[in-house]
Symmetry: C2
Subunit: 492 residues, 2 copies
């Protein structure tokens, strides 16, 4: 190994350690921390991100990257590592430190304003703060775009899913926008009304079942935990993966799927290439790919008729028999679709329409084509056009999500690209793994997770997303597998 | 504020943030972390200590300290802060980085060897590793001593309790060594045999009672937690104090006192001066002073007849009436003394004799007057001389404590100096607070904790330990109050 490449590895190992520490502290803040420690924790998190940033933007990092690229005898992984290191370095260097500071400050303030605005359903409480966030975000997109030769919105997308460009999203979303309303209408005309399971479903029994299902999927509890938090998430590090969920004793079916969804994220993190874990090339390939892994587990595998047949007797064993917990009724529940106001509650068919709306609006805002003051009107018009309903208030409308107030413009499309990729990967896996559906009916996830590990997880960030998808599925990403999946599950 | 002093504050604030992060992660490792994450956590902790160390030993830190000392217009606190910053800087700079690295590596290896040696009661498994640790520790004492103009053992003591010198310990320990055996003999001839409380004592009830007693003492659960770990400790930060304990359903009385002991540490941390919390002057005054706060709460306040009268009905309410839980019997339990092999199980009278032994042996080892190979024999001889008993094996002898295998030479004396200081402080508090004993009988800790906050906690590290003791108690530290306390509690 050359001295420049060695220096690169040392610098990014240090950054990796700091980021791992921050991941555990962030989990702690959401699960464990007493309320009075919130200010101190903010200082600690700022110190950690400052330390990592200082190492990243140091000219010594640039010299190591530059020098390493000229060293011979590097394998594929090392070359990809230099490429990913350079990506991070250039993005970080592109930003004026004053802008970074202003963004950090504005995000904290705007998130607080958003909580109040949403609670009171009062957009005016958020508007001036959100205007500032849009201004700063657009400016950061401009600075990064200038360095990477990208338009503003592409520069933002690239921060969540490297190499993702708006030109690739546009035709996919156009296709979804055209196809989904018809599918939705057809399903709604034919679907049966499911029985609602009657609680209480004791928290201890839900926890025990959740752990059991996680183990069925291959989650290793010597390298992770399941805990509770207000908003479920998958955090921690590959060696210490921390899933959270929220228990409600009157609700069961969506909570179970929530745990399985987070387990999909967890398996990805756990199976990242161990030898490169501390390097940029060893991390997950981006938010769209990450979401594909959780949605593949949740939507493709665990809502399949086979797995529902596996699940039903386990629900009954844990909570007693009732007509709503038969496989037939669970299938009705997990396939029931209905346009609603809230994205996170949306079913598989309407969810992409929520994303199409957000993609359209966020792009327009950062490009200066939509004033923040006009957001509520544009939101409601879009809901009417795409889903045929208008939210009764802004809390259930343009104030529902934290993403924009926290400066995350360019994140939303990843959810739906993840759904498309999940379908395309699962279709390929079905062809590659003999009688996969039977295996899922028996709770055998080994072959599926092994295939995902080989094709996706263990690849880390070695390949650009386009290559990853083509190598795994034999074709570029399209919406075809997703639309076929919908027609197959909901209309056959 | 001058620019050098401002730079000093900025640098130490950063170090403080990193140390706070490390404190939470260390708690996490002992309470929460899945076993498979142990190697990764080791890397993270090493990265954090490396980052803090780099900031501390940077010549810019030295320049800020030097420059700040020459700036006018500094108050007492700022001057003390410069002094404490300089103390840390000089100690850190004194050590050869290669020695620091060798120590870190040797400590990990030796701790592992110690666990095996203790489990098998086989000193030979530890001996070669401990020889290396003694060699490295003596060398670090030599290097620090050279920089600070101190003998080796003083340089080590100073790392745990700033300004503590062996010349101050020697006469105190000589007095204890002379007085304690007689007191012990007298008490043993007179004491009654207590009834043993009969369990089970359900863990949930112990937890609830523990929390209730912590609140009685003034612990603020919006700034802290009570959890479980193998070895009880008080960790976290002043805004986020994390006490742990271990529950055994067949044991009650020592577990309750364990929680109260840790609460004593917690109150000290919580009441450190808020305005200087992120600076060296804002931290606790050293290990001996820290131990004085836990022992004052546990031994002086909570084992007083008044507090036992308060505690007894609460134990009965939680666990049911039984003859062993009357105030009379609890007093017998909490005063029962008996020489034993194990330091952590020792009573208030024999405990200092365990420390006298360790002080004598550790000083001899680092000064080259006792070979590690001769430690087991010297240990057993010392036990015979001081406590009249000889351990039946090395697991209950010289292998019982982790301190030496982890490189902590100079720590043990702090336990007993803490006990002496606790007695001297409590005697002063009794004179200053009208009817303190009655207040403790009523569970009123406000006046006592308020007095401690004023005299000790809120002082942080503003004063050298000698001044702190004199300002708080009107006299230098002696063994008199402690010996009076023993005679008063056990022989009157």
């Amino acid at each position: 190994m050359g001295k420049h490449y060695a220096a690169l590895e040392t610098r990014f190992k240090r950054i990796h350690d700091i980021e791992g520490v921050a991941a555990i502290l962030s989990w702690d803040a959401q699960v464990i921390m007493p309320s009075g420690a919130v200010d101190e924790r903010g200082e600690q998190m700022a110190a950690l991100s400052g330390l990592a940033h200082e190492i990243l933007v140091d000219t010594a990092t640039g010299e190591a990257i530059e020098g390493a690229a000229g060293e011979g005898d590097l394998d594929d992984w090392a070359r990809a590592n230099i490429r990913e290191a350079k990506r991070r370095y250039e993005r970080a260097r592109a930003l004026d430190p004053k802008l970074v500071e202003a963004m950090t400050r504005a995000e904290t303030i705007t998130e607080m304003a958003w909580r109040e605005a949403r609670a009171k359903s009062d957009f005016e409480l958020l508007r001036p703060k959100l205007e500032e966030i849009v201004k700063l975000t657009a400016e950061s997109g401009r600075q990064i775009g200038q360095a990477l030769d990208l338009p503003v919105y592409d520069a933002l997308l690239d921060g969540f899913q490297p190499d993702l460009r708006d030109a690739a999203i546009e035709p996919l979303f156009t296709q979804l926008r055209a196809a989904l309303p018809d599918i939705l209408g057809e399903v709604r005309g034919r679907q049966g009304r499911p029985l609602t399971p009657v609680g209480p479903f004791p928290t201890t029994a839900q926890k025990a079942l959740g752990r059991q299902l996680m183990e069925t999927l291959g989650f290793d509890f010597s390298h992770g935990r399941l805990d509770e938090s207000q908003h479920p998430f998958c955090g921690g590090t590959p060696d210490d993966i921390r899933i959270t969920t929220r228990y409600r004793e009157d609700e069961l079916v969506s909570a179970v799927m929530g745990i399985l969804h987070e387990t999909g994220h967890a398996l990805y993190e756990r199976n990242l290439p161990a030898a490169y874990r501390a390097q940029p090339v060893g991390s997950a390939r981006g938010m769209a790919v990450h979401e594909s892994q959780s949605l593949l587990i949740e939507m493709q595998a665990c809502k399949s008729p086979g797995f529902i047949a596996y699940l039903a007797p386990r629900l009954e064993a844990a909570f007693g028999q009732q007509p709503a917990l038969t496989p037939e009724n669970l299938r009705l529940i997990y396939r029931y679709v209905e346009p609603g106001y809230i994205r996170v509650d949306a079913d598989e068919i309407t969810y992409p329409l929520h994303i199409v709306l957000r993609h359209r609006l966020e792009r327009a805002m950062v490009n200066g084509d939509l004033r923040v003051a006009d957001l509520p009107g544009a939101w409601n018009e879009g809901m009417k056009e795409l889903l045929g309903i208008v939210p009764p208030d802004h809390a259930r409308g343009c104030l529902q999500d934290i993403h924009w107030p926290s400066g995350a413009f360019g994140y939303f499309p990843c959810y739906t690209l993840g759904a498309l990729l999940a379908a395309q990967l699962f279709t390929t896996a079905q062809a590659a793994i003999p009688s996969l559906d039977d295996k899922l009916s028996a709770g055998e996830f080994g072959p599926l997770v092994g295939w995902l590990r080989e094709k996706v997880h263990s690849q880390g960030s070695r390949l650009p997303i386009g290559c990853l998808v083509e190598q795994a599925t034999g074709a570029p990403l399209t919406a075809d597998a997703f639309l076929s999946h919908l027609r197959g599950r909901y209309l056959n």
